[in-house]
């Protein structure tokens, strides 16, 4: 029983990072490094909070988060792909912009009353029959719709990248943009659309934080999860299955931290808060190497 709820919580906590990491993975495979994931997630989390509290509907909140994620990604894509700004600088700028804008708007629109904001949450959708299975039913098949979506995106993205013509083009653009371009494929168009899809996933990841994990919004609620998603992409060696493994590792470590804190051992609570980060570090040390990075990652269109 304890193990079931621990694993179920781990999956839920892994979801925001998984979604953002899958989006970033797609973007990076085309050779674009968007370190603005943190800001995209934060903007998505805020849009979800705003829409959900105004409409009372968590589903609308999630939809608003997707829209906001796309909008933020469009800003990044516009600056980098069309106006020639450096990707890393633009990404860092978007993180600051999102932190400042959501903080200001939150105080102006949602905060100020002093009472904590309580948001409607995404309801769990038990899958008929499967949810009744012992053990796995509770862990995998009694989650909310966004968790299912995140898991489903993993094989879809993996198949898209490795088994379709579009995937081959995307990867070619990430490795050899000049060669892909000389074959007549538009580097810019592919990167643009990939960035927008990445933004949608990042925004939705942010929504999971406000609508499923906490049911509230606070300033800077993402607390570095966007950066963890960036780490998860590298950890998973730019493969969706690897990203799933990395996100689950982080999610489970986070869930473990809550379990251990609840057990009220005499260990200081900061040790538990550190756990997900230290574990991720240790796994990186043991797994080593990052040879599978897209070769043109972070460079300008050529």
């Amino acid at each position: 029983m304890v193990l079931e709820s621990f694993l179920a919580a781990g999956l839920l906590l892994a979801t925001p990072i998984l979604l953002a990491a899958l989006g970033e993975l797609l973007v990076e495979r085309t050779g674009v490094l968007n370190i603005g994931v943190e800001g995209t997630m934060l903007a998505g989390a805020f849009a979800a909070a705003l829409a959900a509290s105004a409409s009372g509907d968590a589903g609308l909140g999630a939809l608003a988060a997707v829209g906001m994620g796309v909008a933020v990604a469009a800003l990044f894509a516009g600056a980098t792909l069309f106006l020639g700004a450096d990707q890393i600088i633009a990404g860092a700028a978007i993180n600051l912009l999102a932190l400042g804008a959501t903080g200001t708007l939150y105080r102006a629109l949602l905060g100020g009353t002093g009472a904590p904001l309580l948001l409607p949450s995404l309801p769990p959708l038990p899958v008929p029959l499967l949810a009744d299975l012992p053990f796995v039913g509770r862990i995998f098949f009694s989650q909310n719709a966004v968790v299912y979506l995140a898991i489903v995106v993993v094989p879809i993205l993996a198949a898209l990248l490795s088994r379709t013509g579009l995937g081959l083009r995307l990867r070619a653009i990430g490795d050899h943009p000049a060669a892909a371009s000389s074959l007549g494929y538009s580097v810019r168009a592919h990167r643009f659309w990939a960035t927008l899809v990445g933004g949608a996933l990042g925004g939705l990841g942010g929504a999971t934080l406000t609508l499923a994990a906490t049911n509230t919004f606070v300033e800077g609620i993402t607390a570095g999860r966007g950066f963890v998603a960036l780490a998860v992409v590298v950890f998973g060696r730019w493969s969706p299955w690897g990203a799933l493994a990395g996100a689950l590792l982080f999610g489970l470590a986070s869930a473990l931290q809550f379990q251990l804190q609840a057990a009220a051992l005499s260990i200081p609570y900061q040790a538990f808060l550190m756990l997900p980060y230290v574990l991720t570090l240790l796994v990186l040390v043991v797994s080593r190497g990052s040879a599978s990075a897209p070769r043109a990652l972070g460079t300008r269109e050529s």
């Binding site: 890393i88 600051l96 200001t104 780490a231 590298v234 550190m274 990186l284």
Partner: protein, 363 residues
């Protein structure tokens, strides 16, 4: 000596004018103007009076002796961390862990400042502890990249969080005040505090150190053989290795120097301003440092201006919150928008910058 002279002559031959040498100031100046316009725009959007917001932003950041002092006090750690980031980026090390290195520096400085009694000259050891703490924290990431090929962007980000929780634990544990009431350290004894420069003001010797570091880093990069090796590794590590440069050792050097500067930033904050360590000792200084370094064009002079600009904006924003009712986090949005616009108009790039200066030598 002669190589430096040759380089200067070469630049003159290549038509590098005096104006282009002052080019480093342009982004920061453009940013200053932009920031004022954007603040008015955002303040209006948030429902405040833009004129009043701008007025309080300016008077609150540079309008009086007191506000100017606050701006300078904020600029010190930003300059140190910004210079650290500059050194790393120019050497091809993407150290985004200044925040963690600053925190560990502050932690080490506090251990020396509050746990080893009080004796004359203690502050020197406090500063040294900060530098060593920051350098060691950076060395973890450096070692992982050099020996285990783990990307430093990830490790430094993860280490930032670990450092944050280490400080949080320390101020409630081994470094907590003797009264054990609040999660903070004991106050620093007098000999562990930085000298006031000039005496009688809130300004302290740490600001002088920051300026010296900026000058020193500039000289190191552009006027020494070590700097040449570091820049070569930043431009083209494969070529640098072929040329027989000790690229691995230089990476460690750039990384730990960068960390040491961030560590000193943490030390001057506790030994110059707060006099204690507590959990929220850094308000994201190490993250802002990345923006400071990039906006400053990865040149010492530019980084100095950018640090002053960001410090003034943050100080002014607090004043704006008090008098115009606009929340101070607005400053972050203004910073972000400013950087984005400057990035577009200037097409500056931490990789491209290094490359373009290389091109100039070649043509």
């Amino acid at each position: 000596m002669s190589t430096a002279g040759d380089a200067t002559r070469a630049e003159i031959r290549n038509g590098a004018s005096f104006a282009s040498r002052l080019g480093f100031a342009a982004p920061a100046l453009v940013a200053g103007g932009l920031a004022i316009g954007l603040t008015a725009l955002f303040a209006a959007a948030a429902g405040a009076d833009p004129a009043r917001a701008i007025g309080s932003l300016l008077s609150g950041s540079v309008g009086s002796g007191a506000s100017l002092a606050t701006t300078l006090l904020r600029a010190g750690p930003l300059l140190l961390t910004g210079i650290g980031v500059m050194l790393a980026f120019r050497s091809g090390v993407f150290n985004v862990g200044a925040e963690g290195q600053l925190l560990i520096g502050a932690l080490a400085a506090t251990a020396v400042g509050t746990r080893l009694g009080a004796w004359p000259g203690q502050v020197v050891l406090v500063l040294l502890a900060g530098a060593v703490g920051g350098a060691l924290w950076a060395a973890i990431a450096a070692w992982l990249r050099a020996r285990r090929q783990v990307n430093e962007v990830i490790t430094t980000i993860l280490l930032n969080f670990v450092a944050l929780y280490l400080v949080s634990w320390a101020v409630a544990g081994p470094l907590q005040e003797s009264g054990r009431t609040y999660p903070q350290s004991d106050p620093f004894p007098d000999p562990a505090m930085l000298w006031r420069v000039p005496p009688g003001t809130r300004l302290h010797f740490g600001l002088v150190l920051a300026l010296l570091a900026a000058i020193g880093a500039g000289v190191l990069l552009s006027r020494t053989a070590t700097g040449l090796r570091l820049r070569a590794a930043g431009l083209n590590p494969a070529a640098a290795r072929l040329a027989g440069f000790p690229v691995g050792r230089d990476l460690l050097l750039a990384f730990t120097l960068s960390g040491a500067l961030a560590g000193v930033a943490g030390a001057i904050e506790v030994a110059g301003v707060t006099g204690r360590l507590y959990e929220r000792i850094s308000t994201g200084t190490g993250y802002t440092a990345i923006a400071v370094a990039l906006l400053g064009g990865l040149r010492s002079g530019g980084v100095l201006l950018a640090a002053l600009f960001f410090a003034a904006l943050a100080t002014g924003a607090s004043a704006m919150e008090r008098s115009a009712g606009v929340s101070a986090v607005l400053a972050l949005a203004v910073q972000g928008a400013t950087i984005l616009i400057v990035a577009i108009t200037n097409r500056m790039s931490w990789t491209g910058l290094a490359a373009s200066s290389g091109d100039r030598d070649g043509t």
